[in-house]
């Protein structure tokens, strides 16, 4: 069963990871990816907008796809929305499995697909008052594309 959350509040990566192993002894590996807000080019903050309803649906679909492709004992996707300042975490994905390769591959799959398959949009706020919507990257499409089947 996947844990999916969209929230303004920060998350505790260690606690989320511990939750995937709590009370069970069949988890051999947990792979995690945390995405953080960088201070590139004078960015003062990122403002994340999403499509309530569709977001949870899209994330649940991405998690279900990972669970269908790899023998996972659990996975977690937490994505923050609202205003996030440099150094703060934005997104956490976790994949747990009996075996490390499944956990590592599923974790990379989850973050690659999330980048192109979930309705989030980022606006950059700069210290000089300018604002700019982040543009989608071809490299993200390419990263997601490598998981496309045959």
């Amino acid at each position: 069963m996947a844990t999916i959350r969209v929230q303004e509040a920060p998350f505790d990566a260690g606690a989320e990871q511990a939750a995937l192993a709590a009370g069970r002894a069949d988890v051999g590996g947990i792979a995690a990816f945390t995405g953080l807000c960088r201070a590139d080019d004078g960015i003062a903050a990122l403002v994340l907008e999403h499509y309530p309803g569709m977001t949870e649906r899209a994330l649940a679909g991405i998690a279900a796809e990972a669970e269908a492709r790899w023998p996972l004992t659990g996975c977690t996707i937490i994505h923050r929305v609202g205003r996030i300042t440099p150094g703060e975490p934005i997104v956490l994905v976790l994949a747990a499995s009996a075996h490390r390769t499944a956990a590592l591959e599923a974790c990379a799959f989850l973050i690659d697909w999330l980048k192109t398959g979930a309705p989030f949009w980022k606006r950059e706020e700069f210290s000089d008052g300018r604002e700019r919507w982040v543009e989608a990257k071809a490299s993200d499409d390419a990263a997601a594309g490598r998981w496309r089947k045959g």
Partner: protein
């Protein structure tokens, strides 16, 4: 019967609001047709849909290509390519 239309990110900013309930005429049958019809509603809508190739759509909360049909009671959303994560 009406459609619920949603806008996100700069599409929302250009249109000037995030949601509206509209009754497109019968000749609007797909996502691309709905975009052309919406573009004629106001200068804001026109700006939002000026480059239709930069706007993505979801019908009933699923990403859809421009030739996807739209029907009464559908929830149709327009937005830029996603940039989460």
């Amino acid at each position: 019967m009406a459609m619920q239309i949603l806008y996100f990110a700069w599409v929302r900013q250009k249109v000037g609001h995030g949601a509206e309930t509209l009754e497109p005429p019968a000749e609007v049958t797909d996502v691309a047709g709905l975009m052309r019809w919406l573009a004629a509603r106001s200068p804001g809508h026109a700006a939002a849909f000026a480059q239709p190739g930069q706007v993505r759509a979801a019908v009933n909360q699923e990403f859809c290509p421009p030739d996807h049909p739209v029907r009464p009671n559908d929830e149709v959303a327009f937005f830029p390519p996603v940039t989460g994560g």
